[in-house]
Amino acid sequence: MRAEIEKIQQMMEDANYVTDPAIATSVHLAMTLKKPLLIEGHAGVGKTEVAKVMSRMLDAHLIRLQCYEGLDAAQALYEWNYPKQLLHIKLEESTTHTLREKEATIFSEPFLIRRPLLQAIGQDGKPPVLLIDEVDRADEEFEAFLLEVLSEFQVTIPEIGTIRATHPPYVILTSNRVRELSDALRRRCLYLWIDFPGFDKEVRIVMRKVPGVNEALARQISRFMESLRTIRLAKVPGVAETLDWAQALASLHADHLDEELVLETLGCVLKDADDVKRFKRELTSSGLKRFVATEG
């Protein structure tokens, strides 16, 4: 493995993020090639975390744009501060300033609200990390707009002029696949799929993040999660659920799993009524062994 990638992996581990070569390589390439990185994976596998860790690692500013349906350029890029403009117009009513002067005043920097994308572009000094979270929730039009911004890293505000990034940000996009993203956006980005962690990785994550859990329990938990994910569930639990659960078990001072304990704390792991039913059926028919059996 290239030394730089190893170093990144080490730095990510130091920043309390349990990682693997695939993730480290992608982060390394995103930084070297200066290309946006699209991260996909099930909910709760630590996609957003990559950006946070990156900013910690680089000691760079993290700018986050949370996407949602209906998000538009005014929310993402910039907007004029309308109340302030109105107030100003009101105050200026009795003055003799011309229309042109008034206009120049209210459409100037102090009246501009910088939204995340503009912040990321207009940043001085170190390039920031720009996290565009859950981009699949935004509309297709916004996706197209994003493509434009990401390829140019410059924004033209008619009243002020063009703002160009002196230090283009590192861009991380995450998607839960609520909506299929366009090929144009996909092919413009580097791609990383984060799967549910394998058994060993999950044990490491639990041990690292929940200090109150001993190794035997951590292994049981991970084995349980591994087999749980093989059942057809409406909401497959991610690492976030594993950690919540481990935390709960730790605060109950548990040192091993038994049926009663699992049923008591099930709410940390399964969050859909049908899933709970399905799991209970499975549990009555084949017992807890089915979920932790291979653990020897």
Partner: protein, 384 residues
């Protein structure tokens, strides 16, 4: 030691192979691949693999193709440290046989698709309102079941299908006129318009952006359904510019995504290709096919999507499975339409167990068995 030029060539050739296998790679991606190799350890196979995967792959579904091609192309020597040789000089027939002739075949294919590219625009469709379907002789064609046409007439019927679709396409796009009321307030323009007034007197509005409807087609190609599927596809492909996106799947006992097969080529070539994915094992497992669709392609469906399912409802699987999967689709989709050509037969009643289970979940149930019913279908292809 091999120079970077060889490396570039190797990556480009690898890219060609991926393209031939169905990954729509861009040149930029390939050049990124070359740059990425520069940033990793070339002697480490995993590094090379991850670097190329990160840059060339754009969705998880492409992983299997990528892995397969990677195995074939980047044939490394067994011992460590031999990486570079393997990299720059792919072992003689590292590319599978069928790929060797690919450049020729690809070029030929390209020519074909270029030649046929304009099929949607050809004809006398520009401006002049079409005579179709107005003439009495054609009126008769409108009501005739597709399956009752003699084979030699099918081409003519297909042509008519496209003409009707094109007329409808124009009508549908014309419907999108901006409205006076409604829409969202455009603060920016409002402020400007009222600059000298001291307060907002007159509001400026802008039209809320309309989103194009997307279509997901699930076509039964088992037995007699095949013919109807073809006409439906033909019809919708001529309409496709009206829609944001059209995704097509065929199924009989299993599900196949054919969207890529249908891209670019003419409907004729495309439909001919459909036969390749058909399987003749008999019986239809609609429920299982939908299950597969939901599991793998569920993210294609949202509330701006219309899902069209064309089938006679003869399901050899469990009705419960079918109902469950239909419900899953209905929850997410803007509209769920079931097309059953048998409905065109007056004596038909939807009594198969599959149909009975699915019908309560369907927003619209129609026939699609002749030209007239396809034309009527267009009226249902909108949301709200």
């Amino acid at each position: 030691m091999a120079g970077p030029r060889d490396l570039t060539t190797a990556v480009l050739r690898f890219g060609q192979m991926l393209r031939a296998s169905g990954m729509p790679l861009t040149i930029t991606e390939m050049m990124d691949g070359v740059r990425a190799l520069d940033a990793v350890d070339l002697l480490d196979r995993r590094d090379v693999y991850l670097a190329l995967r990160t840059t060339l792959v754009a969705r998880r579904e492409e992983f299997p193709i990528f892995d397969r091609c990677f195995e074939t192309f980047w044939r490394f020597q067994a011992e460590e440290g031999q990486g570079l040789e393997g990299l720059t000089g792919p072992a003689t027939p590292a590319i599978p046989e069928e790929h060797a002739g690919d450049t020729g075949a690809e070029a030929a294919q390209k020519k074909v698709s270029v030649a046929l590219e304009g099929w949607e625009e050809t004809g006398d469709d520009d401006g002049e309102p079409l005579e179709v379907p107005g003439v009495s002789e054609k009126e008769i064609l409108m009501d005739q079941d597709f399956s009752s046409f003699p084979v030699e007439d099918l081409d003519e019927v297909a042509r008519l299908t496209i003409l009707i679709a094109k007329r409808l396409a124009r009508r549908i796009s014309r419907r999108k006129r901006p409205t006076r009321r409604g829409g969202v307030i455009d603060m920016r323009r409002s402020i400007r318009a009222n600059l000298m007034k001291g307060e907002i007197i007159e509001l400026r509005r802008r039209e809320r952006r309309r989103r194009k409807v997307r279509l997901v087609l699930l076509c039964d190609v088992s037995g007699s359904m095949d013919l109807y599927s073809r006409f439906l596809l033909q019809f919708l492909y001529a309409l496709q510019n009206v829609f944001g996106r059209v995704e097509t799947f065929t199924f009989s006992t299993r599900l196949t995504r054919v969207t890529e097969h249908l891209k670019g080529a003419s409907y004729r070539t495309a439909l001919a290709r459909l036969a390749e994915v058909r399987d003749f094992s008999g019986g239809t497992r609609i429920g299982e096919s939908l299950q597969e669709f939901n599991a793998r392609w569920g993210s294609l469906v949202d509330r701006h999507t219309i899902v069209l399912l064309l089938s006679d409802g003869w399901d050899t699987g469990e009705p419960e499975v079918l109902a469950n999967e239909m419900l899953a689709i209905k929850r997410k989709a803007g509209r769920l339409i079931w097309l059953n050509p048998l409905l065109g037969n007056p004596s038909y009643e939807p009594l198969t167990r599959g149909m009975a289970a699915a019908l309560p979940l369907v927003d619209h149930f129609a026939a699609a068995h002749n030209l007239a019913s396809l034309r009527d279908l267009a009226g249902h292809l909108n949301l709200r």
